[in-house]
């Protein structure tokens, strides 16, 4: 049955391509077919996962080769897939959350005349993301990696009549291409070092290679991961990507695609286990991003951008955990899954709010929506409790474990993660207050209302998952499930008992919540964003995304633009001028250049035949001599 795992990919792919090619008559059913394809893939994924549960630990990695993709020279890559403990979890997350978001989109995109195409792109995304996680070879993984990048490009720019959307789509693609430099070079290094890019073979053989190879590979893959997962220094595209329709933000830019970098690190655990330096780099990237994202999340008034900052930050947690090695891999995946639930839930909730507020994203124009959108409020509230880590909701379990493991690695890393938890509580509370609580600050002509059932049911489903996601940790199920892949970790003894640390975390979270309540309930919230000059440095920097775009402009964009302008000038005046100048002197070609403009085209044909004549004469001369 696992031979058929390619069907997981083929079903949404066929549906996506079909919907694209189908003409106008497909508009009536396109969304239903797209949703059905995703659901079908999910059901098949459940069947496969269930039969994996029935197998012994050793047999839980089921590989199948579909066909030889590339065989040229000494390069060989099979189109092969592996359904195992890790990819199985991802298949369920991608198709499960994906299907809920498809359902939600039926309502959210109801009035868009290009809805069929939207569903086609969503299906293609699902297919590419499944390729990414099921791939048995890094090059096949790269195929999925770029496929999700393409889907992301198409969906961020879905409303491409808006200049801002088109620019954001392009930016996301280009920044990701910088990350792809790392991925592509990494695969080349694998080929030159091991003669293969099979994930299993490379991770198995890495210990026989020199340590510098492991470090180089680790850093190259990390560069790729930084691009896809919006980690510092390639974080700048994610906030702009919020130009896409909100279901896209939920599916691609919160629950699944942006976590691909974490998947890559965990999947490449052999490489990262072999290099202390590469793991250290992962930890630093994760820690910096988790704090930077949280900082940005505190300052944004745009509800989607605040959530995007939060996504960066939460992926930072996952990255940090993945950098801890066997002690953290399982918790990285655990947090990735729970985050997939509660962040998709909150993004869809934000979409529901926007739906009721004439697509306004400005939280300063919200307020008091609690009573007007009770279901959205309740489901969003569960997501809120989950993300800030209130027991017993999902995020509490997963974040607690990461902070604990971080303290096991290093006190300062742990402290950073702990601080992040407090800031998370602060910005999420701020978001809740500004949106659902506080006083109304609505614009004129706004009539908030609850969204239709086709949108609220997915919210309820995700809210339930956000609340209960912690069950994966019951009797350490997820760590033991993944252990055959990620290796066994010796439990680090902490300076304080784990339960004390949990209490400390809870206290820090409470302080964060309390601070936000004090700060935003003390006086009415301004209905307009205060000017940059009237806010603190902290808020100003956060609003400007810590000046990441300015930095990119200064060190990459502008120099490239200047170089391009210079080269355009140089090509015309320098290269072309030089070559034609030499030609002028050598062959007096100025004659040639003048003549055709007077219409003597035939003389060139003559010249040509002259050339042939010269050839014949030369050969004759040599022969006779």
């Amino acid at each position: 049955m696992f031979d058929l795992q390619w069907l997981l990919i083929a079903i949404p792919l066929a549906s996506g391509l079909g919907l694209l090619v189908w003409g106008k008559e497909g508009d009536r059913f396109g969304h239903l077919i797209g949703t059905a394809a995703s659901a079908l893939s999910f059901l098949f994924g459940v069947v496969l996962f269930a039969s994996l549960l029935g197998k012994d630990g050793e047999d839980r990695s089921q590989s199948t080769k579909l066909f030889t993709w590339i065989d040229a020279g000494s390069f060989h890559v099979d189109m092969g897939f592996t359904f195992d403990q890790l990819s199985g979890l991802f298949v369920l997350l991608i198709t499960g959350v994906g299907t809920l978001i498809h359902v939600y989109s039926i309502g959210y995109m109801a009035h868009d005349e290009r809805r069929r195409r939207f569903f086609a792109f969503l299906n293609i995304f699902i297919a590419a993301m499944l390729t990414l996680v099921l791939a048995s070879d890094y090059l096949v993984l790269f195929l999925g990696w770029e496929g999700v990048g393409l889907a992301s490009y198409l969906l961020i720019g879905f409303w491409q009549h808006k200049d801002s959307a088109a620019a954001a789509a392009k930016k996301a693609f280009v920044v990701n291409r910088v990350g792809d430099l790392g991925m592509a070079t990494g695969i080349m290094l694998m080929f030159s070092e091991f003669g293969t890019s099979s994930i299993h073979a490379v991770n198995g053989a890495i210990t026989s290679a020199s340590g510098s190879v492991a470090t180089a590979l680790g850093l190259l893959l990390l560069l790729g991961a930084c691009g896809k997962s919006a980690q510092v220094p390639l974080q700048s595209w994610l906030l702009d990507a919020m130009e896409g329709p909100t279901p896209v933000s939920a599916l691609i830019h919160a629950a699944t695609m942006v976590t691909a970098g974490v998947y890559l690190v965990v999947r490449s655990n052999g490489i990262f286990d072999a290099s202390e330096a590469a793991r250290m780099a992962v930890i630093v990237v994760g820690l910096v991003t988790l704090l930077a994202g949280a900082w940005i999340g505190c300052a944004k008034d745009d509800i989607k951008k605040a959530l995007a900052g939060s996504t960066m930050s939460q992926i930072g947690y996952m990255m940090l955990a993945a950098g801890l090695g066997p002690a953290g891999y399982a918790f990285a995946i655990f947090h990735l899954i729970t985050h997939g639930f509660f962040k998709a839930n909150m993004f869809l909730g934000a979409g529901s709010v926007m739906h009721g507020m004439n697509d306004d994203v400005e939280m300063r124009h919200y307020g008091g929506l609690r009573t007007f959108m009770p279901i959205t409020f309740a489901t969003f509230g569960l997501g809120y409790l989950a993300i800030i880590g209130v027991p017993p909701f999902a995020g509490f379990w997963s974040k607690d474990k990461i902070i604990e493991a971080a303290f096991g690695e290093n006190f300062w890393v742990g402290l950073g993660a702990l601080l992040g938890a407090g800031v998370t509580a602060f910005y999420m509370t701020r978001l809740m207050i500004m949106t659902f609580l506080s006083e109304k600050r609505w614009r004129e002509d706004v009539h908030p209302h609850e969204s239709p059932k086709v949108m609220t049911w997915p919210l309820i489903g995700l809210a339930v998952l956000s609340a209960l996601g912690g069950v994966l940790l019951v009797s350490n199920w997820i760590t033991e499930w993944l252990e055959p892949l990620t290796g066994h970790a010796e439990h680090e003894e902490l300076a304080v008992p784990a339960i004390v640390l949990t209490l400390i975390i809870t206290v820090v979270v409470a302080i964060g919540v309390f601070a936000a309540v004090v700060f935003y309930r003390r006086e009415p919230i301004a209905a307009e964003t205060p000017a940059d000059s009237s806010v603190s440095f902290f808020a100003r920097a956060g609003r400007h995304e810590l000046y990441g775009n300015e930095l990119n402009d200064a060190i990459v964009v502008r120099p490239t633009r200047h170089l391009t302008r210079f080269l355009v000038w140089f090509d015309g005046k320098g290269v072309d001028g030089f070559v034609t100048g030499v030609a002028d002197r050598l062959g007096d070609t100025s004659q040639f250049l003048r003549k055709p403009q007077t219409g003597y085209v035939r003389s060139y044909a003559l010249t040509m035949f002259g050339g042939v004549a010269v050839l014949v004469l030369a050969l004759l001369a040599v022969t006779l001599a």
Partner: protein
């Protein structure tokens, strides 16, 4: 005989077209005759493909007749896996180009017959050049391709066409002259060492002194480097492509320029392996410069046709890099790259050509928001553009990655710098796409209607091949591989072995029944 028939068919068709009496617009007869001839040629080339034994290797379907006895020149044809791949590219692209050119508005409508006749002539001469196994025959055909292209650019292009055509001609004639000197030199040496002969198989047995080999190599290489075009000899291409009709540009860049890179493999590596090795550091450096320089210049263009020409400078850099890295992987990649680049550039030139004809301007800054009124055109442009930036899943990715992976085993810096090209490629395509297609509809673009059925019919085969070969490149690679092994063993350079080789044994592998 079949190769001769294949090459002669379009030539005969061209003569026929030239002799056909002119008819009033819309010149249906000339167009359909041209399309019919090119389709017959395509079918013939598929027959050739069927008769080619891809496992046997070597030159096949050979023909040999004495031609000019006093020079030792033979009319000698034969194809190996590389030649047949490029012949197939030629025969696939020509009907696509001719069908797309049905709508071209020519400066002199009465010259429709000549326009299509010259196109068929290009096809026939190119097939001949890819099949020639005699250096003299190859030289004559190589130079002869200049004639139809010269007239295609000079008579049917834009307002500056005369300047562009002459520049094209002079550059290529200079290259041809240098090659001519080497041809003469080859003759002298072969005459001294016995019977004068231009046959590839005889020339490969000649003994050269080191210096002679290098000089002769340089003559050939100069001609091919101008044709390919390699930095800094590339400046004729943007001018020519900026003035030519889209169809002419496709024939020039996708087909005829490939004779340059093809010639490097067959004639430079084939006749002068030692000198090729000697020159490789310089050539690799120039190739890497071409990749980055072409890409940066493409970013800076406002004329869409010049932009595509510069992307080709960058892509030719990849092809040449793969050839001179001397690994089976990179060389197989380069050969496949020639085919894939032909397809993707054809799609780009043709779809933008249709767009430019409707708008009456080739300036990117004149477009904006076209996607709204021409979604199919926009979709085709996006797919063609994504193939140009080598998106995985589309054909050019495979060839580009093979080139880079092979080069990496030979020279990490060359591969690393070349890889920067993938970021620049994203910029030049996506900036162009954004400015032309997205945003609100810009004034002046109201007349840009979507593709009609004929235009879709001409572009669809290219798009299908681009996607299909992205997932299933093996049918072509199986043809290419044996020939590559022969070239590399002739050059005497084996692939660098992996430092920590791995026995591939995936656990619990179950062979799916889909082999």
């Amino acid at each position: 005989m079949i190769l001769s028939i294949l090459a002669a068919t379009p030539i005969v068709g061209a003569v026929l077209l030239a002799l056909l009496p002119r008819e009033p617009a819309p010149h249906h007869r000339a167009k359909y005759v041209a399309l019919g001839v090119s389709l017959i040629t395509l079918v013939l080339s598929l027959v050739v493909m069927a008769r080619f034994d891809q496992d046997a290797g070597g030159y096949q379907l050979t023909e040999k007749h004495e031609w000019i006895k006093v020079f030792g020149a033979y009319y000698s044809l034969g194809v190996n896996g590389i030649g047949i791949t490029l012949i197939l590219l030629t025969t696939i692209l020509t009907p696509i180009v001719i069908l797309a050119a049905f709508g071209d508005r020519l400066p002199d409508p009465k010259s429709t017959n000549a326009y299509f006749a010259w196109m068929l002539a290009v096809e026939g001469l190119a097939i001949g050049a890819f099949a020639a196994t005699d250096a003299f025959l190859f030289y004559v055909l190589f130079e002869a391709t200049l004639i139809p292209l010269y007239f295609l650019i000079g008579s049917f292009g834009g307002p500056n066409r005369s300047y562009a055509a002459v520049k094209f001609l002079i550059y290529n004639l200079v290259g041809g002259l240098l090659m001519l000197a080497s041809i003469v030199g080859l003759y002298v040496i072969s005459a001294r060492q016995g019977q004068a002969s231009f046959l590839l198989s005889d020339l490969q047995n000649l003994d050269f002194s080191t210096n002679t080999e290098r000089l002769l190599f340089l003559g050939f290489m100069a001609a091919f480097a101008i044709k390919a075009p390699l930095w800094p000899l590339h400046t004729w291409l943007p001018d020519a492509a900026g003035q030519a009709t889209p169809g002419t540009s496709v024939l020039m860049v996708s087909v005829i320029d490939k004779i340059g890179t093809f010639g490097m493999i067959r004639w430079c590596l084939g006749l002068f392996p030692g000198a090729s090795d000697w020159a490789s550091p310089v050539v690799i450096t120039l190739a890497v410069i071409s990749i980055l320089y072409g890409a940066l210049l493409a970013i800076g263009q406002d004329d869409i046709r010049r932009l595509i020409a510069f992307t080709s400078v960058s892509h030719f850099g990849f092809i040449i890099l793969g050839i001179f890295a001397f690994t089976t992987t990179s060389l197989a990649g380069s050969t496949l790259y020639m085919f894939n680049h032909g397809l993707s550039t054809a799609a780009l030139f043709l779809v933008t050509g249709m767009m430019i004809a409707r708008r009456g301007s080739a300036r990117i800054s004149d477009f904006g928001g076209v996607q709204k009124i021409a979604p199919i055109m926009s979709g085709v442009l996006l797919v063609a553009g994504l193939s140009s930036l080598s998106l995985p899943g589309l054909a050019p990715f495979i060839s580009e990655f093979l080139v880079l992976a092979g080069t990496f085993t030979r020279s990490i810096p060359a591969a690393a710098f070349a890889t920067l090209g993938i970021v620049l490629a994203a910029l030049y395509i996506l900036i162009m796409y954004q400015r032309v297609m997205t945003g609100p509809l810009k004034a002046g673009n109201e007349g840009v209607s979507d593709l009609d059925h004929r235009e879709m019919a001409s572009l669809t085969p290219a798009i299908i091949l681009i996607v299909g070969l992205g997932f299933f490149p093996q049918p072509l690679l199986n043809v290419i591989n044996p020939a590559i092994d022969e070239v590399i063993s002739h050059v005497g350079k084996g692939d660098p072995a992996p430092k920590t080789p791995v026995q591939i044994d995936a656990p619990a592998t179950q062979e799916g029944g889909h082999e």
